[in-house]
């Protein structure tokens, strides 16, 4: 039957709830711990030299649900995998909790689940537990997803924002701002047309490739909401060091720059979902950069700056004309401006 939709009965815990899980969720995420349908998923821990766990959670509420380069499902998997990866962890398992709006088409739900399955496969991780609730029409927008993830950190890896050291090379894995601009254009709010795709991708294999050549990476962050500027500022604050960035070195696609010009946005504050910022010891920088550039998700990786002893807690941007200015974290929402 075409155009079947979620009803409140799907969330009542009875037969329909069971059918929804059996027909849609279980076959899609198909794995042993999930298939058991017990109250908790039981997952094996790889023994060996990884005695610390990374544990994270995030909620996803994007509008529209589908956009060029991704959808809410792909976002929910990648976001949590990336949070684990930024601690140097290998993901062991994810959970996914769904708030479904009454009236959501089952076709859309299916599409989101298939996309989640694909992203999880890319990341080499399974969704081992989940939950579903239905809220009445108007109480949500389509669906919301909360994912949580657990991962194991190799004993020789310690990555935190506080560890940035003077001399560290600051790198980004590719052009910034694609995700936020892609979603903004997909919303159609400002009648902008253009081919910008979200960068939404799981970064754990890129991080593994980097750690393989340099387990001593000091700091890793994925610049999601708040963008590059906010992440750099947070690392400067946490480490008590200064960060100097060469503005001309920060990669930005021309279409993203075009939208920023039109709306008066600052690209340093735009959200990314498949990029990372790495603070790497000076001597290892070339090696790490090469490893990044060999990886499909780091082809456009580049060094954008370095850590300094001076200007502690601040991010200084060197402008192409030879001036400098401070880069502050994002404050509030960026509104398009005419001035």
């Amino acid at each position: 039957m075409k155009d079947k939709r979620i009803t409140l009965s799907h969330g009542a815990g009875g037969r329909l709830s069971h059918d929804l899980i059996e027909e849609y969720f279980v076959p899609c995420f198909d794995n042993d711990p999930l298939r058991a349908l017990d109250d908790s998923a039981v997952i094996p821990v790889q023994s060996g030299q990884a005695n610390r766990l990374a544990f994270t959670t995030d909620s996803y509420v994007v509008k529209p649900l589908f956009f060029p380069g991704g959808d809410i499902g792909r976002l929910a998997i990648c976001g949590t995998v990336n949070d684990l990866a930024m601690a140097g962890a290998r993901p062991l398992g994810l959970t996914a909790s769904f708030i479904l709006e009454e009236g959501l088409s089952l076709e859309d739900l299916k599409q989101v689940l298939v996309s989640m399955k694909g992203a999880a496969a890319e990341a080499g991780v399974a969704v081992v537990a989940g939950d579903t609730k239905v809220v009445e029409h108007g109480a949500a927008e389509g669906l919301y997803i909360t994912t949580a993830g657990i991962g194991q950190i190799p004993d020789n890896v310690t990555i935190t924002s506080a560890q940035a050291k003077p001399g560290d090379a600051v790198m980004v894995s590719g052009p910034i701002g694609d995700h936020e601009i892609a979603v903004l254009m997909a919303r159609g709010e400002f009648s902008l047309q253009g081919e910008v795709e979200s960068d939404c991708a799981p970064l754990n294999s890129l991080v593994q490739a980097m750690l393989k050549v340099c387990p001593a990476i000091h700091s890793l962050r994925d610049p999601t909401r708040g963008g590059l500027a906010t992440v750099l500022w947070e690392i400067a604050q946490a480490s008590g060091k200064g960060v100097v960035v060469e503005e001309g070195a920060v990669p930005i696609r021309k279409e993203v720059k075009g939208v920023c010009d039109l709306l008066g946005f600052d690209p340093y504050y735009l959200a990314n979902e498949g990029k990372l910022v790495a603070f790497v010891p000076e001597k290892e920088a070339a090696k790490v950069l090469k490893a990044m550039q060999k990886h499909p998700l780091g082809k456009e990786a580049t060094v954008i700056g370095k850590v300094t002893l001076g200007n502690p807690g601040k991010v200084l941007l060197h402008t192409p004309i030879g001036g400098h200015r401070l880069l502050e974290p994002l404050s509030g929402e960026q509104f398009p401006r005419i001035c």
């Binding site: 009648s191 047309q193 253009g194 279409e255 075009g258 939208v259 010009d261 039109l262 005419i338 001035c339």
Partner: protein, 77 residues
């Protein structure tokens, strides 16, 4: 006080509306204030209106003039 962005006219529809390309991103722009603009022209756009025709050759020229002037004054100082 006013952002003005250069763009290039891709096509003109009826009612003095044009599609303008800004670095690969396109938006509809009104030509009411610059009706003489044609497809291929560059223009300065503010709040969805073309405000002025731009001449890339002229921009190039003034740029070269500045360059030459700075060269000359650099040698004499």
């Amino acid at each position: 006080m006013c952002l003005g962005i250069p763009g290039q006219i891709v096509s003109i529809t009826e009612n003095q509306l044009a599609v303008v390309d800004f670095n690969g991103v396109r938006r509809e722009v009104s030509l009411m204030l610059c009706p003489e603009l044609a497809v291929g022209d560059y223009c300065l756009v503010h709040v969805g209106f073309a405000m002025q025709r731009l001449e890339p050759e002229e921009a190039q020229e003034t740029m070269e003039l500045l360059d030459e002037f700075l060269e000359a004054s650099g040698e004499s100082s």
